[in-house]
Amino acid sequence: MMVQPLEKREEHLTDAALLEMYRVMVRSRRLDERAWAIHRQGRIAFHVSAIGHEATQVAAAFAIHRGVDYVAPYYRDLAMMIGLGMTPVDFLKSLFGKAGEVSSGARQMGSHFSNKALNIVSTSAAVATQVAHAAGLAFAIQYKQRCGLVDPHDETQPRLALTCIGEGSTNQGDFHESMNWMGVFKLPMIMLVQNNQYAISIRVEKQMAVPNVADRAPAFGVPGVVVDGNDILAMYRALRQAAQRAYDGEGGTLVEAKTYRMTPHSSDDDDRTYRSHDEVEQWKQKDPILRFRHWLINETLLTDADAEQIDHEAQAEVDAAQAEAEEAPYPPAEAALGDVYA
């Protein structure tokens, strides 16, 4: 089997950082697979998967100032959340609806991420709303810097807002209005479009008449770049450049990751009704984890034994997380009444 090569690594990416990125990808994949398994066992009601998106998402987590810069994610961002510091226990508790679940106290379904301590803003299921919040977060960054409320060079403060959106949702007005704000106000933000080619069942050609979402960006005075979303090194480079532009006050960037949703849209979907088995199998050859592992082994940063060990550790961590989540209590019913008003 021919594994597609990756781009050159960024010079400042250390060996340790590369291996950590690989570990995060594997941890997210094993966790995601477990979610599918426990759904099929009838233990949870719903799962929406990030399988196939790991290179894009982990690159993004590592390209920004993790835990400090604002992130307004969408529901498919599991690997990014793991990269930013959320844990398998956090995620599994959300799937089971257990007390103490960090994103929402189990008020929301799983994958509606939020983590105030990591500056991850709560997301809804109403697609594209989050990118407009990111415009507001980026506006606030700019406002605080210009009004002297923060030092623009203070790296303990958020200096950009990263937001994620699927290509289907770029047809929503929220996306277009946010792109317009990004252009007019030169907002320090990154619009990361994860183009997995399907909005549930609707292929990208039926969603828009241009080949790339990035083609829409120049109409707003925003640079748009297209990147191989299954190449973590290429994604990292593009997102790092976008982050630097934001930090330097040059405005926002749209980065379009061309990737593939290797699973159905969600646990309630059956993708056999709208795409071929062959197509899915072909994309499995381009699995972003496979490609990165191959690159790491070629670069002698990883051995097969190391890879096996990393897999084993991830599996053990997911096992332990599942046990902890399943044993955790449910929230009391009265928790339904809380937090209506601040």
Binding site: H133, A134, A135, G136, Y143, G173, S178, W181, D339, A342
Partner: protein, 327 residues
């Protein structure tokens, strides 16, 4: 105490809050050098500059959504929607996002923002410059909705709204912007969000109203007072959260209730007040609960005879009070 117009009271509230807290900013269409189409922000651009008085693109969804995002980052946005009629592109952002963020993040992320929007008819504005849209938003837990009827309350409620940690929508009776004048205290004061105001104490009939209709109801109460009918006027002024206690206390005293709004009738705010009375004050009622409202037609028509038929007026309110008093 100086007498000012309602629009001047609103402008003062924003000016004082901008001066008090550097996180407060205004965003909306034409709010900058133009000073807003109703002049609510007149002079503020010159005083606070373009970073804090932000002329937005003509797109209501993002006026609100950028407000939400900036509030999440601990700014204090005041978003102006030019007419309440145009708030609907932002409906999803208000209902699905602003109202739910605190709840859905288990209390981690709050949205301290204000949305101001002129509402109401009787100004020859036709279907798209006359709407009363409060019922849509008063139906949404997580939001607060206020509607002042006096300059005093407009200023005091708006200042409270800016300081509130929740999303607050203030609908402003545009017909009263210059027509309603009143005294306001010198210096700092606020009006709490929540409690209704007993605008006039009385013993015969309770009238519940807000905004322009509370202003009219006060005039109607004076008219019928000359006929010996003693009206208690409850200016609701905060629609959400609902002030159950004030509504019930008044009807327990008078036994009769008239609710007035210019919004359309079916499932309007009056329906909720009537339901509260039916549930919790049944044994105190001496007459049917009456509603006087706009007509159940899709919009406020433009031409004067049709507009006048649509709108409640001082005379219509007085007639409704007389009928209830004689029941």
């Amino acid at each position: 105490m100086p007498e000012v117009t309602m629009i001047e009271a609103i402008r003062q509230a924003m000016d004082e809050e901008l001066a008090r807290d550097p996180r407060v900013f205004i965003v909306g269409e034409d709010v900058g050098p133009r000073g807003g189409v109703f002049r609510a922000t007149q002079g503020l651009f010159e005083k606070y500059g373009e970073q804090r008085i932000v002329d937005s693109p003509l797109a209501e969804l993002s006026i609100v959504a950028v407000g939400i995002g900036s509030a999440l980052a601990d700014l204090r946005p005041i978003c102006e929607i030019q007419f309440a009629d145009y708030i609907f592109p932002a409906f999803n952002q208000i209902v699905n996002e602003a109202a739910k963020l605190y709840y859905r993040s288990n209390g981690a992320w709050c949205v301290p923002m204000v949305i101001r929007a002129p509402y109401g008819g009787g100004i020859g504005g036709g279907l798209y410059h006359s709407q009363s849209v409060e019922a849509f938003f008063a139906h949404v837990p997580g939001l607060k909705v206020v509607i002042p009827s006096t300059p005093h309350d407009a200023k005091g409620l708006l200042k409270s709204a800016v300081r509130d940690l929740n999303p607050v929508i203030m609908f402003e009776p545009k017909k009263g912007y210059r027509a309603i004048k009143g005294e306001i205290p010198d210096g700092e004061y606020t009006v709490p969000i929540g409690p209704a105001r007993i605008a006039r104490a009385g013993r015969d009939v309770s009238v519940f109203a807000y905004g322009m209709m509370a202003h009219y109801a006060a005039q109607a109460a004076e008219l019928v007072a000359q006929e010996g009918i003693d009206v208690e006027l409850v200016d609701l002024r905060t629609l959400l959260p609902v002030d159950h206690a004030s509504i019930l206390a008044s009807v327990k005293k008078t036994g009769k209730a008239l609710i007035v709004h210019e919004d359309t009738r079916t499932l309007g705010y009056a329906a909720e007040v009537a339901a509260i009375l039916a549930d919790e004050a049944f044994e105190h009622l001496d007459a049917p609960v009456r509603r006087l409202t706009g007509l159940d037609v899709p919009g406020v028509p433009f031409s004067h005879p049709m507009q006048d038929l649509f709108m409640p007026s001082v005379e219509k309110i007085a007639d409704a009070i007389r009928e209830l008093a004689g029941y």
